[in-house]
Symmetry: C2
Subunit: 340 residues, 2 copies
């Protein structure tokens, strides 16, 4: 990359609008009042969890197009993926649009990989408007990765709760909105954790690796950012990422927030908090986007979502959990002289 | 995109080297003498199909790095995906390299999506060297998508045989090799085919859509290309794509070749030919790459691999098969005046 693992965007690719959909449990939390489509029922009028998931993704996408005041035909590409096998939510949602589609897979770091690629495509002049989107659904994730819900399996205290929700960011060359100024492409990190109920511990080293790489590449101090936002490390993983970065000389404790840690009012089975590709997609594109625009009080965010790149087959074959984190810097588009 | 769905590369991103690995059945065919690592045993010394698959992918990648005369640390990113749930082959292979990794999913069109994104990253100045790679394994695909091999299920005559093999193309700004001059991002096309044993019929409309879009966007006649190369339509799908494009006024019958149709000497259960992400990855990066370089006689190739974006869940829920094709134009880097 241009410098270390970090790519820089000179032409100010902007997040001109976002769209979000979230389930009732999610909307009872911090993001509730900022979500465009708060659902009363997480089936969203569909007959299967999978159809509800793809309908959320499509709804978030169409919402972002509308709020960006674009005709759908003005969107040059959708960059999207999700947690389901063969990313069927993204593919089937893209089918409904007739738009060019680039499928990606990065588990719960899909939102940051999508934003990074959308910024590359628009900044490089290959596209005017690119929709970066992802989502997840508690029930489809449970049945794919864990146990049938009907089994009523007890959840261990280090587990997290997959967010039912979707988010889309419209990244454009023209227009106004917070700018994606640079991005750091993560590498696959595996500290040997194999407990599929402890994703926070598995993913924290990947988050730390990318955050440290980003700070080193850019020469920035953690305090440059108002917020260093991880995706779904949960409460335990958040403690770990702070420790791992501190050990390497970067103190992020003052400005680190994890979307998974804040998404729920943890009361019952959520334990460590939220997870899933939809977790950071909803929090970033609703609550955080609001703070980055208008009268919000956040100017600079490093968004570093993490993904656990396991499958039920890899775990069944005794493999540990490889993880990754991609990061993008999102900054208010203020003239340099306005900054002290 | 800059024009329709097609993006143009001004800075001559080149395929400076390739690496390929293929199983014994594959190496008995047309590509055999061009494959870097012809395997005598498709387990590749591993205990599971999945580990053999990821070892092939890693071997192809390392081979391409070596043939490009690069240190591994000079590779700025790996863009890769595969057919297995959660693309574990690509993720676990990337883990071994410590290199920045962008995971993608586009089923059997992974090779063309990877080349397109690698060209964007290098052409746009975001990277110097990007490895585009994918692969597949007959036995891991059968057990994930179809039936356990031990069951000895009879295969219907419209079925194809998943290629055991992997291929990697090193795309670089510097160096020499055939140039990726432009690429067309596909959209998801679904003509309502739901027979999971007839992928050729499901995917042909997506191939036709992208090829027609590419010709329209670029104003080129099919005869501009020496070869219009699809990925794994097989014999039936190849007939269909020729018919579908002909109906729309583009006669590709003289120069269309399908990697799946040519990969095997069809004798037993292969029926329509080869399939899988490894099919076009092996053929393009061995046999075709040889013809595009050195004393080979091919100057211009439109490579349009197709992917069927179904999952066992989507098929089980009665959905039809959404498909996609991405295309890249690969041309010998000759000065314009040398062309008649």
């Amino acid at each position: 990359m241009q410098q270390g693992h970090t790519v820089y965007f000179k032409n100010k690719p902007k997040i001109v609008a976002t769209g979000t959909v979230a389930g009732p449990k999610e909307c009872a939390g911090v993001a509730g009042r900022y979500v465009d489509y708060p659902l009363g029922d997480d089936m969203f009028g569909e007959e299967t969890f999978e159809r509800a998931e793809r309908k959320m993704l499509l709804t978030a996408l169409e919402c972002a197009v509308r709020k960006a005041k674009l005709a759908q035909s003005e969107v040059d590409a959708i960059v999207s993926g999700d947690l389901l096998n063969q990313i069927i939510s993204a593919s089937f949602a893209a089918r409904e649009t007739g738009l060019p589609f680039l499928g990606i897979y990065s588990a719960c770091s899909t939102m940051s990989e999508a934003l990074l690629l959308a910024a590359v495509l628009t900044d490089g002049g290959y596209a005017e408007n690119v929709a970066a989107a992802t989502g997840s659904h508690f029930s489809s994730a449970e049945r794919q990765y864990r146990y049938p819900l009907e089994l009523g399996t007890t959840r261990p205290p280090q587990s997290q709760w997959t967010v039912t929700g979707a988010g889309c960011a419209m990244v454009s060359r023209a227009g106004s909105g917070p700018v994606i100024t640079c991005g750091t492409v993560g590498r696959v990190i595996d500290y040997g954790v194999s407990d599929v109920n402890n994703m926070g511990a598995a993913m924290a080293p990947a988050a730390a690796d990318t955050i440290l790489m980003h700070l080193r590449d850019t020469g920035r101090d953690p305090s440059y950012y108002d917020l260093i936002l991880t995706g779904d490390l949960g409460a335990l993983g958040s403690r770990l990422v702070k420790e791992l970065t501190y050990e390497q000389g970067a103190d992020i404790s003052a400005n680190h927030v994890d979307c998974g840690e804040i998404v729920y009012r943890v009361r019952e089975d959520e334990f460590q908090g939220g997870s899933g590709a939809g977790c950071s997609a909803v929090i970033l594109n609703s609550y955080i986007y609001d703070k980055l625009t208008g009268s919000g009080n956040i100017r600079r965010v490093l968004f570093a979502a993490t993904g656990a790149l396991l499958s039920t087959v890899s775990s069944g074959q005794g493999e540990t959990i490889p993880c990754i984190a991609h990061a993008v810097a999102i900054e208010r588009d203020a003239p340099a002289e306005a900054e002290s």
